[in-house]
């Protein structure tokens, strides 16, 4: 019987059950991380093809989004199917402010944290209402709020109504046009991953995860559920909005159904599930695998419906056969193999 099953790439507290082997595993993990970082940084310098760098930009954006979603939903167990609210808010915030203040070029990037703050300002009242109910209802409320957001974007004149918004187009060199977007996105993604890691092993993260397992019991032991959940929700929204703003600037335009897309939430949930819900590396892996696949399919398949069907099928496959996600399932598989080898 294996004493400790670690579903998470990041080490939890407590003694390593397998002493030396554990330390070796940790060192190789650090090595892999470092390598990954280097690859990520030099990626656009090596792959200069516009299509590839295009996919890369959107991928890092979704790495950030999936990780941010996981920080809230993965750790707390409250599934939010309304994160598109933050994404769209970020997009529109950047769009409206850039338009009204006539910004262009690199200064638009400075708007991202501002977009994040606006999203946080929305997240707090939203969270105060939505986080008081049980999980079933919470999911539904997030969906309801999502539709309100989409409706608002379509009907308010400040948002350009159903024709949407245009982003300023910076006059950077066309060869490296995608690079600034990529690096900004990379910074956000790495920051989010680091934050996710820190949260997971912190007292705050412990309380979140306790809430996920048994909220009433956690509350009975002194965990202050609402502030904890709300903080995670707000942080998650902040990051998602920044990602949305970047995405909008990169794609140069948006309109209500695009910025507030019901498929958005499903996609990031799938990414987080695919890689392993509630882990640090899981959403990253999910985004790294699924976003390029999705974009590629969108390029190749002229019919939206086929990608929709595929998304749905893929989701069912993951849920039915790898419910804990690829990483944890793979981890268990490896652990089982090690046990089998040890028994011989």
């Amino acid at each position: 019987m294996i004493a400790g099953m670690k579903p998470d790439a990041a080490a939890g507290p407590g003694a390593e059950a397998d002493g030396g082997a554990g330390r070796q595993w940790k060192r190789s993990k650090f090595g892999a991380l470092g390598l990954g970082l280097v690859i990520a940084v030099i990626f656009p310098l090596v792959f200069t093809n516009a299509t590839i760098s295009n996919i890369a930009v959107q991928t890092v954006i979704f790495v950030a989004v999936a990780s941010a979603w996981n920080i809230f939903s993965g750790y707390s167990g409250y599934l939010s199917l309304g994160h598109a609210i933050f994404f769209g808010t970020g997009a529109y915030a950047v769009g409206i402010i850039a338009r009204d203040w006539q910004l262009n070029g690199a200064s638009v990037f400075a708007l991202l944290p501002l977009a994040g703050l606006i999203a946080t300002a929305i997240a707090i009242p939203l969270g105060l209402i939505a986080l008081r109910v049980r999980r079933h209802t919470f999911v539904v409320i997030t969906i309801a709020f999502f539709f309100i957001a989409q409706l608002s974007a379509s009907n308010l004149s400040i948002t350009g109504g159903s024709s949407g918004l245009l982003a300023p187009v910076p006059n950077w060199s066309p060869d490296t046009f995608n690079d600034p977007f990529y690096y900004v996105g990379l910074v956000i993604a790495i920051g989010t991953i680091a934050l996710s890691f820190l949260i997971r092993r912190s007292r705050f993260g412990l309380q979140l995860r306790a809430i996920r397992d048994d909220e009433d019991r956690a509350v009975g032991l002194g965990v202050r559920a609402m502030p904890v959940k709300l903080t995670a929700f707000a942080v998650s929204g902040f990051i998602t909005a920044m990602a949305g703003g970047l995405w909008f600037y990169f794609l140069s335009q948006t309109f209500p159904q695009f910025a507030f897309d019901p498929l958005f939430d499903l996609a990031i949930v799938l990414m987080a599930f695919f890689g392993g819900l509630g882990t640090v590396a899981g959403p990253v892996l999910g985004a790294l695998v699924l976003e390029p696949v999705q974009l590629y399919l969108n390029l190749r398949l002229t019919n939206d419906y086929l990608s929709e069907i595929l998304l749905g099928v893929l989701f069912l496959v993951v849920i039915l056969f790898m419910p804990r996600g690829v990483l944890p399932t793979a981890g268990e598989f490896i652990t089982a193999q090690r046990a089998r080898r040890a028994e011989r």
Binding site: D216, G222, V223, G278
Partner: protein
């Protein structure tokens, strides 16, 4: 004998069912008090009310002289009452050690008044400093499950979960521990272990209030027993007296003293 926990005339109804009426119990400081009674007599309801999971319709609850009636579960916990559940509640996807760390939060009563109830500190600080971990491991060793510290709590057996729940309730160093059927559904050797641990802790000064159906366990461990029937106290006293009290037999079996031995 100083009373550490006292309830005074607690009444509680659920719909048409009067679960508790005029329920008044006394728990002496430093004692192991048993709370027994047939199914439906209101024992778990009383626990729920004392620990804040339910609000009483009438009556008061006093902890060491202070009224705690209607306090929320977390306030009750902070005031020094720990409690386990009939259906053991642990955090299955946290490790055993992490389960302990959730409960080991700085409580208001433990910190100096000048700190106030909230110490912000660094929210991202690693959970559980060295001191917390040491205390956690100590409790886990005491409970005999320290070897599973890194295992996910969900992989523990039923008996081990009971021990874990007891351990993490103890780590908060409560004044009084309420145990809801600690001997339920586990094998005799484990029951002995739990019984010994409780006796050990009691010798060191901890008060226990135990709901149990296992009469051998109760009679062997408790110094004082309170009997509930239909939501109020029908008898209270040391085990030898309670064992032979006709009202107790009546409560359990609905018969007078001229009938068979209670199956207990």
């Amino acid at each position: 004998m100083t009373t550490i926990l006292r309830t005074d005339g607690i009444a509680k109804a659920f719909g048409g069912v009067q679960a508790l009426s005029g329920c008044s119990i006394d728990v002496a400081e430093g004692s192991i008090t048993g709370l027994i009674g047939p199914n439906g007599s209101g024992k778990t309801t009383l626990f729920n009310i004392i620990t804040g999971y339910e609000k009483p319709d009438a009556g008061q609850i006093y902890l060491g002289g202070r009224q705690i009636t209607g306090a929320s579960p977390q306030r009750v916990f902070a005031a020094g009452i720990g409690r386990t559940f009939q259906l053991t509640r642990i955090f299955p996807r946290l490790t055993v050690l992490e389960n302990m760390l959730v409960a080991s939060q700085p409580r208001a009563s433990q910190q100096g008044g000048s700190h106030g109830r909230r110490r912000l500190g660094n929210p991202l600080a690693r959970s559980g400093g060295a001191a917390d971990r040491d205390r956690a491991m100590y409790q886990l060793e005491f409970a005999g499950i320290a070897g599973h510290a890194s295992a996910l709590a969900g992989t523990l057996s039923y008996g081990q979960r009971k021990l874990l729940e007891l351990a993490y309730v103890l780590i908060a160093d409560p004044q009084i521990v309420l145990l809801d059927e600690p001997a339920g559904g586990i094998n005799p050797s484990l029951i002995h272990l739990i019984s010994d641990r409780i006796a050990e802790l009691n010798a060191a000064g901890k008060t226990f209030l135990i709901v149990e159906h296992n009469m051998e366990f109760v009679m062997g461990l408790c110094q004082h027993i309170t009997v509930l029937d239909y939501g109020s106290v029908v008898a209270a006293g040391p085990p030898q007296i309670i064992r032979d009290d006709p009202r107790v037999l009546d409560a359990y079996l609905g018969i007078g003293e001229d009938d068979d031995e209670p199956a207990a």
